[in-house]
Subunit: 224 residues, 2 copies
DNA sequence: TGCTAATTGTGAAGCATTTCACATGAGTAT
DNA sequence: ATACTCATGTGAAATGCTTCACAATTAGCA
């Protein structure tokens, strides 16, 4: 399905393509540091263990960014990709559940580096409410909906036990937040228009387990 | 490509299928708790937001586990799936890098629940070496290779900065460990036969970012 | 025992993604 | 200028994954 929009008609872009764009972005940042002016699809592909055609096709969904005979201008392509991914800006993020994983996320530098700023924390534990984590005071989860709205939060990271995740997500949805990163091992129900990504580390270990007991050689060498 | 092996010829199984098996396993555990004797592909599909055909096809790669007209026996199918995934046993796991994320992983209950036992910790920080995390003494990373071998470690979780990840992985490979879960945002180089899965939380936020700025409706409602 | 309803297992069809292959355009050197 | 090289952008082919559709099989019941 094409999604007609604003000024251009957009094709449906596959999840794989979007993930590869993230990887291109990372590699382009590196190439920039290494003072490359331009990069060919061949070089980019080599670094990502992909085919050059794949790289070119991915980029071609969004425009023509290269020069025939030369390749792609690194700095410019990086800017374009960051624009496409919507990471040429700051996102206001809240985190619910200041437990093991939650605490780790608050201190996770890669988030801030990429413009994802965790600016609010929530928990239901009285001992945690009011405490200070990296300069942020933990709020009472009772006020989740109102505070998300008042603080114009755009994304929420959910790091609570599976048993309560759905209730919390219902509140998040009520607060009109449209993007959720979920660490609870559960299939969340959200209305259409709300985006959910699940981060499930157990599933990745299970994949490794499967690969080992089956002497499995995944095509392309596995998830990169 | 078919992979002929031991006594049966195995088809290449897609990454998606394996991930769905993980999800089936989770749901089957739930169904078992809810005292279901049998479950149909329709019910399973409903809970996972898939099509019944998808469920049946996934399972059919590994055998015929159902009864026509009835469905699948829950307990039995759960056992079969756990067997397929190789999680009908205990895996000995080590963790390198007892920082933010590493610490969270040590305390992460879902790992133990699924048979992934973290039994060794490594770090290069003198202040951490010798300290006790959940009953495990942190070892010096200098001894990584020998201790991995001596303790018959089968999987390693890498939670170190990107700058040193490759060196550590080289050591892990030398210790003949064949499975690595990598949290560093870098494309690791490993010889064939070594399985790597990358866990990249920034990429998931970037996907959400893309979805938001593009009013993107991913097919199937996004990653589940 | 025979009929009905339910649900699996699976080839084949339908889609989606990746790769191929080549025309096209840009830079370079003589 | 012209020729040569390099590398993009893109239809078309190839491959892979999902869904369809239906024969086959089982349970339940009269």
């Amino acid at each position: 399905m094409d999604i007609p929009s604003g000024d251009t008609a957009r094709k449906r872009i596959s999840e794989s393509t979007i993930h590869r764009l993230s990887r291109y972005f990372r590699t382009l940042s590196l190439l920039e540091k290494e003072n490359f002016e331009t990069v060919s699809s061949k070089e980019l592909a080599k670094r990502e263990k992909l085919t050059p055609a794949q790289v070119r096709k991915d980029l071609s969904f969004f425009g023509s960014f290269g020069t025939r005979g030369l390749g792609y201008p690194v700095a410019e392509l990086k800017a374009k990709v960051s624009r496409i991914l919507g990471i040429d800006r700051i996102w206001r993020v809240a985190l619910v559940g200041v437990g093991n994983i939650g605490s780790a996320m608050v201190s996770y530098k890669e988030f801030i580096k990429q413009g994802f700023h965790i600016v609010k924390l929530f928990d239901n534990d009285q001992r945690k409410i009011g405490s200070n984590h990296k300069g942020i005071i933990v709020s009472d989860i009772k006020n989740l909906r109102t505070e998300l709205q008042d603080d114009r939060i755009e994304m929420v990271i959910v790091a609570v036990p599976a048993t309560v995740a759905q209730y919390i997500v219902d509140d998040i949805v009520k607060a009109e937040v449209k993007a959720i990163l979920n660490f609870a091992p559960i299939n969340l129900k959200v209305p259409s228009g709300v985006h959910v990504r699940n981060e499930n580390m157990v599933m990745e270990l299970e994949y490794l387990s499967f690969a080992m007991v089956n002497h499995h050689s995944p095509k392309g060498g596995g998830k990169a």
